[in-house]
């Protein structure tokens, strides 16, 4: 056993020894004659580069030759750096490249909504005509290839209205919750919540989170912040007596699967914004946006526009807070005069 190990170790070393590669047989072939062409144009012969000797063990022993090697290597290195510097300016720069995630990372403002933008992001494609919900007849433009076409103008109008709602709720310091539980919607939902300064659910809405919130979200972290979103730890003991928090606005990207969520919102008087495709019931949400809810681009666009609206609202809230104007009734604890704005850490 030991011998075999030794042998294998030696064999590996033998493999790593530099040997001349065996010349391939086909290069020795004389059967095909390579036609030789005489080129009349004189070719300028390049002067040979100074050859940098490869440091070997014997060379390392000699100190004088080691200096010259180091010098040559330094020169070669600086020359190479100079070449990189010279050639960096050459070549072309690719601009206006299509970036699929641009819609999510850098979404358009509500003022930038155009019909072309909506069309390019497939918001007009409804469901099969046999799947339609007649409550959506006002949003339907026509039929093409067996599917309903949603009116682009109405989508734009309803999206702008929803953006205003989100902006005002954010400006008054409301809690905004984005819910999109379909596959692939995660990125858009998280980004929209990030822009709005709100919260998100992308995997599953736990039924009863609103109607039975104390049981389900009771163990979640909560904090009290002032008008500038700075935490106020002295309010922590007061939080114990308060129930779980409820959002002030829910944006639902897939109302078809979120029946329970929308029902709970209805019971708790929480306004909702939803993407209503031609097969969804538009009466389930407070502010419908008639659009395609299957295309990821369509959903990303709508979530992104609402996120931008929320961002504008938050900016307005901070500006008015600097002026001392609050969108809600201020509460003081003892002698300190601070505003209370409870926030919840999302458990999901």
């Amino acid at each position: 056993m030991i011998v075999r190990q030794l042998y294998s170790r030696q064999g590996r070393q033998l493999l790593s020894v530099n040997r001349q590669a065996s010349i391939l047989r086909r290069f020795q072939s004389t059967e095909t004659q390579t036609p030789t062409t005489t080129v009349e144009t004189a070719v300028k012969v390049e002067t040979e580069e100074p050859v940098i000797p490869v440091p070997t063990e014997s060379a390392l022993d000699n100190s004088t030759s080691s200096d010259s090697i180091r010098l040559a290597a330094t020169e070669a290195f600086s020359r190479q750096r100079q070449n990189v510097k010279n050639f960096k300016k050459l070549g072309s720069v690719v601009r206006n490249k299509y970036w699929p995630d641009a819609l999510i990372e850098n979404p358009p403002l509500p003022s930038q909504i155009t019909l072309e933008l909506l069309l390019a992001n497939q918001t007009h494609l409804g469901h099969s005509t046999s799947r339609w919900n007649p409550s959506n007849s006002q949003y339907i433009f026509g039929i093409r290839d067996g599917i309903h076409i949603i009116s682009l103008e109405l989508t734009a109008a309803y999206l702008r209205r929803a953006a205003k709602v989100v902006e005002e709720v954010a400006a008054l310091g409301g809690l905004i919750l984005f819910v999109g539980t379909r596959q692939g919607q995660k990125h858009a939902v998280v980004r929209a919540a990030e822009l709005t300064g709100g919260y998100h659910v992308f995997d599953r809405w736990i039924p009863g989170s609103l109607t039975n919130g104390n049981e389900i979200l009771g163990s979640c972290d909560r904090k009290v912040v002032n008008a500038f979103d700075e935490e106020l730890p002295e309010w922590a003991e007061r939080l114990e007596s308060r129930g779980s928090l409820k959002p002030d606005l829910v944006v639902c990207l897939n109302p078809l699967e979120s029946t329970v969520l929308l029902h709970e919102c209805g019971l708790n008087n929480v306004p909702t914004i939803g993407i209503i495709d031609t097969d969804a019931d538009s009466t389930k949400v407070t502010y419908p946006i008639p659009a395609n809810d299957d295309s990821l681009r369509s959903v990303s666009l709508i979530a992104g526009v609402l996120g931008r609206a929320g961002e504008a609202g938050q900016r307005r809230r901070f500006e008015s807070a600097k002026r001392g104007v609050l969108g809600y009734r201020s509460v003081s604890l003892g002698k300190k005069d601070v505003a209370e704005r409870p926030e919840s850490e999302d458990a999901a």
């Binding site: 069309l119 099969s128 799947r131 433009f141 039929i143 599917i147 299957d294």
Partner: protein
């Protein structure tokens, strides 16, 4: 482009404008945008068996690749493919698109269905067939069938020639000798009973218009006769007044036409613009049969099978001629193009007393192994006369394609002959040989090397006598030889 489009219909209903371009201008901005969108610009699916269900009995499997595509193929850029974005109602799953192929191509049967899925399938079958066909570098020819009595191959005639590439609305349709590939009327032998009845009803509806046309025709005929008569009598031609056709004359003309089947047949074919069928000799014709005029279709085969359902080129190749030469670095310009590999799909054999030829597939197109016309075939490629399971990858051999045609029903017909040994040698390809046979004929390549390879710029006899080209040959001779070869071909 969207005659059946309900969307379009709705717009034209709300805006009662006669001109569609005016409607496009005055429609809502969203309607204009939608009309220009790429998804809406996708053509409607074609009908697979357009108009001749009775002409041929078909026995096909439901899962077989269709003879021609009926839906557009869709691709998407790689950046969008990453997220499954194909510009459709919903992203397509990666499992059946990008995970299966590096460059997925799909065709969409339905954008959305009741089951909330997009009905799509891979369109690689036709897409790859087209790519393989384009690699053959073949021009399309008008269909022609070689007789068994003739040993020559059919002539190449490009469908793009000016006098052949015509429809009823083409500019050059009135020129003498102009032929066309499409009539406005249907091909009557290819119509089913129901279709024929529908067509009859349509003609009946158009009766006033047709009678007006017939009257014009009658007036022209009278004028021509009058003019000819005047010319014969030496009258002044400018002073001739056009003949006025009275109702009485016209009724009389109609009665004459009805009593003369020959004249009525010609008039009907002309009025309804029907493609005429097979030319039948006059003596075979009964006196009471309605005569059809001679065909003006661009290929005689169209009068048998009906006018083509597509453009005669099928849009798969736009080159007019086969004037493409491969210049071999060693052996010079080659007479034949690069051979393509043919896979034996069914060996040749006999079934119920009838013998059939082998069926091979070349570039995704199935065809009969063409050669030879003799009874014995000693040099047949391996695996063509009997099935051999020992051949790795199945039996294949090299063929040289020489004609590609589009049949009336949209099938590609390819004509090939077996690649000659010298051609195969020049391009460095070999037919499969059994291992033991290959061992005995090891010197085959050296034998081929000694034999001359046919060049385009030499006539056959020259190249046989001179295996190696002289390096310094006068260029005049080369040009003369080339011209001679070209005129012979």
């Amino acid at each position: 482009m969207f005659p059946e489009n309900q969307l379009f219909f709705r717009i034209s209903k709300t805006l009662p404008l006669s001109s569609t371009s005016m409607a496009a201008v005055n429609a809502s901005p969203a309607a204009n945008l939608l009309r220009k969108s790429r998804l809406f610009a996708l053509p409607q699916a074609l009908n697979l068996h357009p108009e001749n269900p009775t002409i041929r009995v078909r026995s096909e499997s439901n899962t077989a690749t269709l003879p021609h595509p009926i839906r557009a193929s869709i691709i998407t850029p790689r950046s969008s493919l990453l997220k499954g974005d194909w510009g459709l109602k919903r992203p397509l799953p990666a499992l059946s698109t990008s995970n299966k192929s590096r460059k997925p191509v799909v065709r969409v049967n339905a954008i959305d269905t009741f089951e909330h899925v997009t009905d799509f399938e891979s369109a690689q079958d036709h897409t790859v067939t087209l790519r393989k066909f384009q690699e053959l570098h073949m021009p399309m020819s008008l269909p022609a069938r070689a007789n068994y009595t003739q040993s020559i191959t059919t002539r190449h005639e490009s469908p793009f020639e000016t006098h052949l590439d015509n429809t009823a609305t083409s500019e050059g349709i009135d020129k003498p000798g102009a032929r066309r590939y499409r009539h406005t009327g249907p091909f009557l032998p290819g119509l089913s009973e129901a279709d024929f009845n529908t067509y009859l009803k349509k003609v009946q509806r158009e009766k006033p218009e047709l009678l007006r046309k017939l009257r014009e025709r009658f007036a022209t005929q009278l004028n021509t006769e009058r003019r000819k008569q005047a010319q014969d009598n030496g009258e002044e031609l400018e002073a001739l007044a056009p003949v006025q056709v009275t109702d009485e004359d016209f009724q009389k003309y109609l009665r004459v036409l009805r009593s003369d089947p020959g004249a009525l047949g010609l008039a009907i074919f002309d009025l309804l613009d029907l493609p005429s069928g097979l030319p039948v000799p006059r003596e075979r014709f009964g006196p009471d049969c309605y005569q059809s005029p001679g065909t003006v279709l661009s290929s005689p085969e169209y009068s048998v099978r009906g006018p083509p359902s597509t453009h005669p080129s099928g849009g798969i190749s736009y080159t007019r001629s086969h004037a493409l030469t491969y210049n071999h670095p060693e052996h010079g310009p080659q007479v034949y193009q690069r051979p393509a590999e043919a896979r034996v799909l069914r060996r040749k054999g006999r079934f119920k007393g009838a013998s059939f030829r082998a069926i091979v597939g070349v570039g995704g197109i199935a065809l009969e192994d063409g050669e030879p016309k003799t009874f014995s075939d000693p040099n047949a490629p391996h695996g063509i006369t009997y099935f051999d399971s020992a051949i790795p990858g199945g039996a294949k051999y090299y063929v040289t394609p020489y004609r590609a045609m589009m049949e009336s029903d949209g099938r590609i017909r390819l004509a090939v002959h077996r690649a000659e040994p010298q051609t195969r040698f020049a391009y460095g390809v070999q037919n499969y040989q059994k291992p033991e046979a290959a061992a005995t004929t090891r010197s085959d390549s050296s034998r081929l090397r000694r034999r001359p390879i046919q060049r385009l710029d030499r006539s056959r006899t020259d190249s046989l006598s001179e295996p190696l080209p002289l390096p310094a040959e006068p260029t005049e001779d080369v040009a003369r030889n080339l011209m001679r070869t070209l005129t012979q071909r």
